[in-house]
Symmetry: C2
Subunit: 333 residues, 2 copies
């Protein structure tokens, strides 16, 4: 038979359970299981703990818990080229039959003919032109499916895996820990919002409206009161370097509490955010792992980290050494 | 002495309490106490109930619960002129001593001299010029305080009250109900983000990053690695009419589930959003209350609702008749 004492302990247990569960929810930094217990992990965990502990001098109210992630090279791989460029090349090929004029026009001709020698000579403006044309569409509502269909079949040239499986497992864990601690997660990327929004919500759990990136020109056709938005093959906003500062100021209107980046392209926004008078943490990923991923150097085309490395040192920002700090790089390792 | 039966009912009570509280949280439509129980309230409450009831044919997962509010005339009063224009006039006067050239230049001269006859002849381009110059600042970090200081002393010409007390009580209640039901609330306004972000987070509980509006040009000065963003006296984006469509496409990347507006300036985005294949509700406020607020007509400068009224009728959108549907208009009535 149940006695009063037993029932009282059940009552107490039930009453205390939410508090216990609440604590777990607030702290779940043990979720960072793919991280070695090095200095980088320790400092990040400490910041998250302090900023979510009422009374701590580094406590941040929920509305200030804004964290920004770069995408290429920070949340997923960006070598040998940012994956969006592979998408653009394949999309140009798929569109070639609708654009017979491309067969004699560069940079389209080289892409359509897989002319690697010419592709190697491309300037940034050629890449931008290709990406812009790959994004052009009569009704933007149909674009997600195009990207999703491509992702379903395209394979990474070195790893022979879908691109979406080349996300960083330790960073997926970081996103999860931050979400559990009521941080609002934004992507601020040099890549296009249009491309990222097609897959990042599912892959990262970051909603479309929290993805900021480069954008193409849009055009509105009111279409007899059933408006259709088309996208023109023209860059509207280049969201890299100083462009990231303007996006923080214009779209967020706040200086984030944390920024995770991996290249000099993230440096300006990190410097800009680093002038807030609230607790902050800045983290750079250092791509040091040629075996499991890539070892960047000063010649790396995408994601070069030179000036950012010096500044990080002088400002005490955290450097994550991928070879040393990560137990594994990809989810399926 | 406590017997087992009593203790068991306590246990049951404690166990059931979260479920009960959960229901309250999900349903809190009784918070709409400033609304008469008319058709408008009934239809809005029904939509919120259905879209948050799992299994209902109109159920919306949380990530799709995006609701957009226009600001001027939808969340607060916009007569006799949108309040931002009063701010701009006062700001121009305050800046006049730094700009001696304005004393002989229109539209500045008329504002500085309070020359109402000339002010009445202003075109939209004059207003835009004044607003843009009122927003110009060397370091955007200092702008919130300027707006807040103005709001602390400025008074509405008819009601002789602070502008922030001329928010609509029934709409504050609507925001609260939507928040409780896990809708993510955005403002999409023709007004400038810079002005709204200075007070709307506190007044409406809507965070800065969920405020979209017209914007001015920004300039970045890297300032020896301590970047400063200044705002130039030049319109960057006019977020009205078709501009609101582009902002939904570019910044949200989603068609909202609900839109609340009050003028033809909201019509285009409502028509655009109304092409989604998920449950949606569109609501127009009809300013019919000359006594407690304003009765708009076809000559009303700001917030005219003519074409939108016809479309609302043909599409079955909800019309809120302020005189009939609201028990009170302002919080302190």
């Amino acid at each position: 038979m149940i006695n009063n004492k037993k029932i009282l302990s059940i009552v107490l247990g039930v009453l205390l359970l939410p508090i216990f569960l609440g604590c777990c929810k607030c702290r779940k930094t043990e979720l960072l299981s793919s991280w070695h217990d090095g200095q980088a992990k320790r400092e990040i965990v400490e910041f998250i703990r302090d900023s979510t502990t009422p009374g701590n001098k580094n406590f941040l109210p929920v509305e200030d818990r804004i964290v920004v992630f770069d995408n290429d090279g920070t949340l997923w791989t960006e070598q040998p080229l940012p994956f969006q460029i592979f998408f653009a090349f394949d999309r140009i090929k798929a569109l070639a039959s609708e654009h017979p004029e491309w067969s004699s026009q560069q940079p389209f001709k080289a892409v359509i003919e897989d002319d690697q020698e010419t592709i190697k000579t491309f300037h940034t403006r050629d890449i931008v032109k290709l990406v812009a044309h790959a994004h052009a569409i009569e009704d933007i509502d149909n674009f997600d499916t195009i990207v999703q269909d491509w992702l379903a079949t395209a394979r990474h040239p070195r790893f022979d895996k879908p691109y979406t499986s080349l996300v960083y497992q330790p960073m997926l864990e970081m996103l999860e820990v931050l979400r559990k601690n009521e941080f609002k997660i934004y992507i601020v990327s040099g890549g296009s919002v249009e491309f990222m929004r097609a897959w990042a919500p599912e892959v990262y759990g970051i909603p479309k409206e929290q993805i900021i990136g480069s954008t193409m020109e849009l055009a509105v056709d009111m279409n007899e009161d059933n408006p259709v938005v088309s996208r023109l093959p023209k860059l509207n906003w280049n969201n890299d370097h100083g462009g990231k500062i303007v996006s923080l100021a214009r779209i967020l209107g706040k200086k984030p509490a944390m920024i995770f980046g991996n290249s000099d392209g993230d440096l300006e926004m990190m410097l800009y955010a680093d002038t807030a008078d609230t607790p902050q943490l800045f983290v750079y990923l250092d791509h040091t792992d040629a075996e499991r991923e890539y070892h960047y150097n000063e010649e790396t085309l995408s994601g070069k980290l030179v000036r950012g490395r010096q500044i990080a040192k002088s400002r005490g920002w955290i450097m994550v050494d991928i070879a040393k700090d990560w137990k594994r790089v990809y989810p399926d390792e």
